[in-house]
């Protein structure tokens, strides 16, 4: 099937989204906002996988994305439960205030 957009455009877009997500993770203090930026990075990688799968005509890329989405859903549940438990104990979600185990 003929694609009118070259593959490189999708890869550039996905790399840009990944970098934006990485900046977000490294510059936020709030754990929930950091988690949302991690989801941004995961989705950028999903976009790369789907683009390659579509351009090479191989289903494996999309199956990989299927499993990545499942893992992301599981990670969301467990991560948010951890944030809730943290908030219950320390009354904060700012990650730089949780430094009890620092040397």
């Amino acid at each position: 099937m003929f694609q009118s957009i070259p593959l490189e455009y999708y890869l550039l877009l996905s790399g840009t989204l990944f970098c934006i997500g990485a900046v977000g993770v490294l510059t936020r203090r709030n754990a929930i906002l950091m988690f949302m930026c991690i989801e941004l990075m995961l989705n950028a990688v999903n976009l790369t996988l789907v683009a390659f799968s579509s351009y090479l005509g191989d289903t494996a890329g999309q199956i990989f994305v299927f499993f990545t989405m499942t893992v992301a859903a599981a990670e969301a549940a467990v991560g948010l439960a951890i944030i809730l438990a943290l908030f219950r104990n320390k009354q904060t979600v700012y990650v730089d205030e949780v430094n009890l185990m620092r040397w």
Partner: protein, 170 residues
Amino acid sequence: MSLATGAFFVFAAGAVATAILLITRKSAIPAALCLITHFFCLSGLYLTLQAQLLAALQVLVYAGAIMVLVVFVIMLLNLGDEVKSVKHSQVRSVVVIVFVGVMGLQLLAFLLGQQSNHTALPPNAELVGSVGELGRVLYTDYLFPFEAVSLLLLSAVVGSLTLAKRKLEN
């Protein structure tokens, strides 16, 4: 083909704009709304790549389940706006410069690299994104990961319940 090209640029611009909005919001609920819009833009991008099942799953799983969970937690915790510390703003400028450098390298590779030439597609390539083909491959070639991921989901449910429940007082 102009509709497909236009759709790509609209969704790509929307995805980048909502991503930048997400990382610059101070409070959590506007950030969550930006991320939901970002997921819809990504779903549109999957549709331009003819990945129909994944476009639907993106909306269902990410925007419809994960973000609902995140919004619940944000409402439950009821936090105020994020306040930045002084050391934080120094770290932030370094990080932004490093990643702008990485994006510049990427843009350079994009501009100087060669166009990918169309190799011959395998047979049935036009079926790749459809529900039937994905389902067939999932239940035949990738059956073991499919069963393994159900075990992963079970452990995630048990783990999140254990972490989030209150301790009984007596």
